[in-house]
């Protein structure tokens, strides 16, 4: 686990400067989600990031998008971004091939507080593309396995074909003292796993509620119900961290696009301890 200040020091001096970075690999995870592997050596002398941080990826002539880093924080020569194709920039990123160059600036934002989970059990609850920003967390937990107790990963997707990182999910399941429960909203008869919303998986596990830290990431409505269920099961707000998402433009809290009540998602988040934004979660039009 890196010192947060170390990651900040690795950020570009001018936070608005984009660096040209070469695409090393593109892997399609499902029909509309892909992972870009970027070669960081040429552009950054020493790039490092914290799990949960994001970069601004720039497709020249098209625009920028804020994308979480989804790779192992220890591997800094190449980094990965897992991207859901939803708009113009991400559609352009989807057309990238090995050798293409895109612009990168970052890393930005506050990452997951892994220190809070030291000596405790960890419950990771995620859905859809939400697994991507939590993947570096899982790598970090596994690298420092002795620092943490039992790890539970709860992951929900639309259908079996939509699930991300399926090979890794199976691999993580084989690790000692880790439970991986995956559920989908619907499936055909070839699927033998759970079917139902991700919150339903909580009924199959027993949490040591006084000694568990939960990291939650996914669509906001999913996070809302997951938090409700975690709290109903005995976790306090202080034990829950979540990653928020809004349309980010500058990534450094200047432009105000991602203002969320008194906070900026890009600068103060995207990861927040639940108490900090609890009162904002149910507020409409925020």
């Amino acid at each position: 686990m890196k010192d947060p200040s170390e990651a900040l020091h690795s950020a570009p001096v001018d936070p608005m400067t984009t660096h040209p970075v070469t695409v090393r690999k593109v892997i399609w995870e499902n029909d509309d989600t892909f992972t870009l592997t970027l070669d960081m050596n040429e552009a950054f002398e020493k790039f490092s990031f914290l799990p949960g941080q994001f970069n601004m990826l720039y497709v020249f002539g098209v625009g920028e998008a804020a994308i979480s880093i989804s790779s192992d924080p220890v591997k800094i020569n190449t980094i990965e971004h897992t991207i859901h194709r939803v708009g113009t920039v991400t559609a352009a990123l989807a057309h990238m091939k090995k050798g293409n160059v895109i612009g990168v600036r970052g890393p930005y934002g506050a990452g997951w507080n892994l220190d809070a989970a030291k000596g405790k059990d960890v419950c990771i609850a995620t859905g859809g593309i939400g697994l991507a920003p939590l993947r570096p967390v899982i790598y970090s937990l596994l690298k420092n396995r002795d620092d943490y107790g039992r790890i539970v990963i709860l992951y929900g997707g639309r259908s079996p074909l939509d699930l991300l990182f399926r090979v890794e999910l199976e691999k993580w399941e084989d690790e000692e003292n880790i439970e991986v429960l995956v559920t989908v909203d619907r499936a055909d008869s070839s699927w033998k796993g759970h079917i139902g919303v991700v919150t339903s998986l909580l009924s199959y596990i027993k949490l040591d509620t006084r000694n568990t830290i939960a990291y939650v990431c996914g669509p906001e409505i999913m996070m809302k119900y997951t938090i409700d269920e975690l709290v109903r099961r005995g976790l306090s707000d202080e034990q829950v961290f979540l990653s928020m998402e809004r349309n980010m433009k500058c990534a450094v809290g200047f432009c105000g696009h991602c203002q969320y009540g008194p906070t900026f998602i890009c600068k103060d988040g995207p990861v927040f301890p639940l108490p900090r934004i609890r009162s904002l979660l149910d507020r409409k039009e925020l």
């Binding site: 997707g157 759970h194 349309n247």
Partner: protein
């Protein structure tokens, strides 16, 4: 199975958490211990709903047969959960099929036996209904969430 063992199994099931001894005795008269291998059907759409299952281990998938399409699995029930409430609601026909997707053990409660006891002992009937209503409420909430198609949602304002 010994009656004593069946009592233990019933007591351990979350659906019957803190049920009174009197009601437990009522239930035991309707209960049997059952096991279904992988791919065995517990219930079939359209057939008489003559059992109520308390799942102990394994997993059961609820299926809908969509004409002209492959069978669709819409929900699973696992350890500690129950399968089916059509046994309580006239005309007592299953609306879905339920297939074991792994070796599954359950307590089967005979539907006719249960209905009779619910009719003759209103306190027992009300207790069963309250517990089933909780299950229904959870399932309804889960179904509503599934209808939202959560994972296809992009964050508000996200256009990039």
């Amino acid at each position: 199975m010994e009656k004593e063992n069946l009592t233990d199994l019933l007591k351990q099931h979350p659906f019957l958490h803190n049920v009174s001894d009197e009601h437990m005795q009522t239930l035991i008269g309707c209960a049997s211990n059952v096991r279904f291998p992988d791919n065995a059907y517990l219930i079939r759409e359209g057939e008489l709903a003559n059992k109520f299952f308390l799942i102990r281990t394994g997993r059961v998938a609820l299926e809908i047969d969509v004409p002209g399409k492959a069978v669709l699995r819409i929900q699973t029930a696992g350890p500690g959960e129950v399968l089916g409430w059509s046994w309580l609601i006239s005309p007592y026909r299953w609306h879905f099929s339920g297939v074991a997707v792994m070796d599954t053990r359950a307590i089967a409660l005979d539907a006719e036996c249960l209905r009779n006891k619910c009719e003759t002992d209103p306190a027992f009937g009300y207790e069963m209904l309250k517990r089933l209503a909780l299950v229904m409420e959870k399932r309804l909430e889960a179904t509503r969430l599934q209808l939202l198609d959560l994972y296809d949602m992009t964050p508000s304002g996200a256009t990039s």
